[in-house]
Assembly symmetry: C2
Homo-oligomer: 97 residues x 2
C-alpha cells in the first residue's frame, strides 16, 4: 500500500471561503479516481500551537495507482485553481506500507 501524506500552510490572507473550497473540491476526487482506497482531508483541529493548516492523507494499492491520482487532470486543476493561490508552504511524504 502507498499512503500519500501532504500538509499545507495557507497564506495569511486566505479567506474562509477559499479554505472551504479546497475541501469541497478535493471531496469530489474519490468519485472521479477509483484508485483512491481511502481519502481523509481537512483543516487542523486546533489542539496544538505551531501546526500546519491543512492535511491530506490518501491511500492506494500501489505506486502506479498513486501516480494516477497525482497526475489526474481534475486533481491538477484543484491544485492550480484552489490550492496554489492560497498556498504558503507544503510538506509531503509517501509511505510504502
Amino acid at each position: 500500500m502507498i499512503r500519500h501524506i501532504v500538509l499545507f500552510t495557507w497564506k495569511a490572507d486566505a479567506t474562509d471561503e477559499q479554505r472551504a473550497a479546497v475541501t469541497a473540491e478535493l471531496g469530489r476526487l474519490p468519485g472521479l479516481i477509483p484508485q483512491l482506497r481511502s481519502f481523509t482531508v481537512g483543516g487542523d483541529a486546533g489542539i496544538n500551537q505551531g501546526n500546519h493548516d491543512y492535511a491530506v492523507v490518501a491511500d492506494f494499492d500501489d505506486v502506479d495507482d498513486y501516480v494516477v491520482y497525482r497526475d489526474h487532470p481534475e486533481h491538477q486543476a484543484i491544485i492550480a485553481e484552489r490550492i496554489r493561490p492560497i498556498l504558503a508552504s507544503r510538506a509531503a511524504v509517501q509511505l510504502e506500507l
Copy 2:
C-alpha cells in the same frame, strides 16, 4: 476520530542507524499505549523530489486519547533521545474526522 499526522526532515548528517532507530523505537508504542487505534510510521518512499524524510500517522478515538499518546513518557523519551537529535524540521496537523 482524531488523526495525528507529523512529517519530519532529518539533518544532513543523520546516520542510517539513527534514522532506523526512530522507526524501531516508535514501533514499541502501540504495545505501550492502548489508545493507539492505528499507527503507521516510516521513511519517504522516494517517489517524488522535495519531500520530507519521515512520516507518522496515528489514529485515536478522541482528543483525550491523542493527548495520552502525545504526553506519554515513553513517547516523550523517544522524541528527546531519538528524534530531536537528528531533527531539521517538523510539520504537524491533527484532523478531526
